[in-house]
Symmetry: C2
Subunit: 138 residues, 2 copies
């Protein structure tokens, strides 16, 4: 439980003061086994479920953007009216469940190696992202 030390160190080592708000958000985001995909709204609701010690919306935005800048989070665009963040910062692909709007990670072995044959002169490939939209099979 009191492995807060890990997060306090993580924050300190990247020049962010370990405030109770940031530690609380760290625990929520990074103290889990599986990837967490969330929106700011999701996060806000979870954080402020317990009445005591609310975290203001401005702080949630600030913190998430700091974490993104530090490389602890990735932002994912799959839906024009929903912005997702992802605790899995490696290059990876996703299922998007169109019925639930849920993102699911694909492991690299889940997707055959992708070869792009076309090249644009003067440009190099930065990343390749695959989005597999899925839906209820009736």
């Amino acid at each position: 439980m009191e492995n807060n030390c890990i997060f306090i160190e993580k924050l300190r080592s990247s020049g962010l003061r370990p405030t109770k708000q940031r530690i609380k958000i760290c625990k929520l985001l990074f103290d889990r086994k599986k990837t967490f995909h969330f929106t700011i709204n999701d996060l806000s609701k979870i954080l402020n479920k317990e009445i005591r010690q609310k975290v203001s919306l401005a702080t949630i935005y600030n913190t998430i953007h700091s974490f993104k800048k530090k490389g602890y989070l990735k932002e994912i665009s799959v839906n024009k009216d929903k912005s997702y963040f992802d605790t899995n910062t490696s290059n990876h692909h996703h299922f998007l469940d169109m019925n639930t709007n849920e993102l699911i990670d694909l492991k690299s072995e889940d997707v055959h190696n992708i070869k792009i044959k076309k090249r644009i002169p003067g440009k190099k490939i930065n990343s390749i992202e695959v989005l597999v939209k899925i839906e209820n099979s009736n």
Copy 2:
């Protein structure tokens, strides 16, 4: 030049009255050889370059959404703060130039066949979209 008839028919056949605003937008969007990727803001600026006969922003939104609903346009999410529409409504992949924010179509032969090995019980695959981010190669 006066192949407006094509667009008038296209609109009529889908239950949309061929107003001068819609015809003007049709000509701008569909009277071209190559795929057109645009934002509402792009479109608005092009449409209202010529002072005479401005099209209101509300009409641009209405028209684009009607066209999307009728299947004449596809909406593409690649960037949380920019919503693109695409005159190419087939399933296809994209380059995204991170320096210019420009989308470029990939033909199906430009991308090796993609195999997704993982399946989610009760779900079927609806579509597979590949986004290849590119940038200046220094």
